[in-house]
């Protein structure tokens, strides 16, 4: 009793003992967490690079010397170059409308924007086949005019746009909502036009959130597999993106080549993670700076 009384009489010790677990529990939990993440995340990532280099650096680079690999890289870059800017414009427009104005049906719009996240990638591709495929709504008309959408690049672009368009919007909407409308209103009062306000007031405020959304959007656009798999037709050298190329190589039991190409995508993922984390710190700081001044409506 006396010993406990003596221990608890030291406030720092008492507080620490009351609100933390025993060191045994603490380190056990840390061990469990690290073990779980190591098994689930680290080992698969290492496996990609280990398998890619299994037959040495020569074999690794020869996987990229193939013309099919190059057209896959080109196609992936093209698709991302179209989908990401399109979704960027959409994201800015949507968050401008949602964050700066009051109107009915906002929640419905927000739910609609979130929809692609809840739809299976396979279904995301299927719905475009239903419209643009040979048996689809526009199929016969497209066939007459010799316009290929499904089993060609436009279909891949469309499916990728569908799957990735929420990313920029979801990043910008809370950010712009937190920033409110005061700065824009002040600019307008001082005589700025709408576009001037946007370029010189809004854009600098949202630039980190924008970049963050673009990075996520890009990572998903380059890595999308299910939706593109349905609309692409898997035509080698023409409608295979990098992920599809990986699948083809893997199914041909060309494991080293498959993992070599996959390692390129894994590197992209790791770069995305690094950029994402550093931007997260930036936006977190920005949001923190705003909250003391923000007035709750």
């Amino acid at each position: 009793m006396a010993a406990i009384a003596m221990k608890l009489s030291d406030p720092a010790v008492a507080r620490a003992q009351a609100t933390t677990e025993s060191p045994l529990v603490k380190w056990l939990l840390i061990a469990v967490a690290i073990a779980f993440l190591a098994v689930m995340l680290l080992i698969p990532v290492f496996a990609v690079f280990a398998e890619a280099l299994r037959k040495g650096w020569q074999a690794y680079f020869s996987a990229f010397a193939e013309p099919d690999a190059w057209s896959a890289i080109q196609l992936t870059l093209t698709v991302a170059a179209i989908a990401v800017p399109a979704n960027l414009v959409f994201g800015v427009a949507a968050s401008w409308a949602i964050a700066k104005f009051e109107f009915r049906g906002k929640q419905v719009l927000l739910t609609l924007i979130d929809l692609p996240f809840s739809v299976s990638p396979v279904i995301s591709g299927l719905i475009y086949v239903l419209i643009f495929g040979l048996q689809g709504w526009l199929g016969p008309w497209l066939n007459e005019h010799d316009i290929k959408i499904i089993f060609a690049v436009p279909g891949i672009v469309l499916a990728t746009i569908f799957v990735t368009f929420p990313f920029v919007a979801r990043e910008l909407i809370p950010l712009m909502q937190a920033q409110g409308t005061e700065e824009e209103e002040a600019a307008l009062v001082l005589g700025a036009s709408g576009w001037q306000t946007f370029w010189h007031v809004t854009l600098p405020n949202i630039k980190w959130g924008l970049l963050y959304g673009v990075i996520l959007c890009n990572a998903r656009a380059m890595g999308e597999f299910g939706a593109v798999s349905v609309v692409s037709g898997h035509i080698r050298g023409m409608t295979n993106t990098l992920p599809l190329h990986v699948e083809i190589l893997y199914n041909e039991y060309n494991f080293v080549a498959a993992f070599s190409v996959a390692s390129l995508l894994a590197l992209l993922a790791l770069v995305t993670l690094v950029l994402k984390t550093s931007l997260e710190w930036k936006t977190r700081r920005e949001l923190q700076e705003l909250s003391p001044e923000q007035v709750q409506p």
Binding site: V89, F101, E102, S120, P121, F165, G226, P243, T277
Partner: protein, 278 residues
Amino acid sequence: MKFLLYRRSVIPGFNLALGFTLLYVGLIVLIPLSAAFIKTASLTWPVFLETVTTPRVMASYRLSFGASFLAALINTVFGFIVAWVLVRYSFPGKRIIDALVDLPFALPTAVAGIALTAVYAPNGWLGQYLVPLGIKVAFTPLGVLVALTFIGLPFVVRTIQPVLQDFEREAEEAAASLGATRWQTFFRVILPDILPATVTGFALAFARALGEYGSVIFIAGNVPLVSEITPLLIISKLEQYDYVGATAIAVVMLSVSFVLLLIINALQAWAQRRDSKA
């Protein structure tokens, strides 16, 4: 009472921004999605029900839903531990591990698929130890479970982390000063506050796992009636030009997805209310 469709504002660009947004959403999302429902509407109810309840389709539902549920459960338990450890403790490498949690978000699903298969195949890094023990992961439903756990991992962690971060330690101290043991404090003070976020994380992981395709098809056996997930079944039907059948199953999945979306929105609203109460 005046029914305002929208409040007039001095800020310009409303019509342009909203118009463009609605056009984009309509063309990219609404019209294509409605195509699935309209196509299925051409079926009569009995035919539709028959198409979506064949033994093969039912087996795929069992696998997809069952594995997704279990995977989300595993992620909830371990994700909670990971979130707790990241928020409450400091240890070497914590920043790197925190960043790493987002890996399943960033990694293309096909890469994840072949990587997991390589790891759990009989001659794989982990498979070589598991198979002699009789635990076959690759090309079995267990493999599906592992893949879906991988894919849902960040959802629980990232949903719980901010809530845990904002949790007021004073409540814990109050409980301790009133004589609660650490376990009691955890179960009666901390957990109820984190519960909405935990359940939301579970629902998000579940919803994501349900539709997952790329990371699963490499490690699953893809044997009909045994290890075939519903998205794969849809693709099989597409390859056989059975558009109607594929769309019917897709409509079932879409309906489930929409219900889940509504549930998740409700859960997030519940979590918000909890947050504002505190």
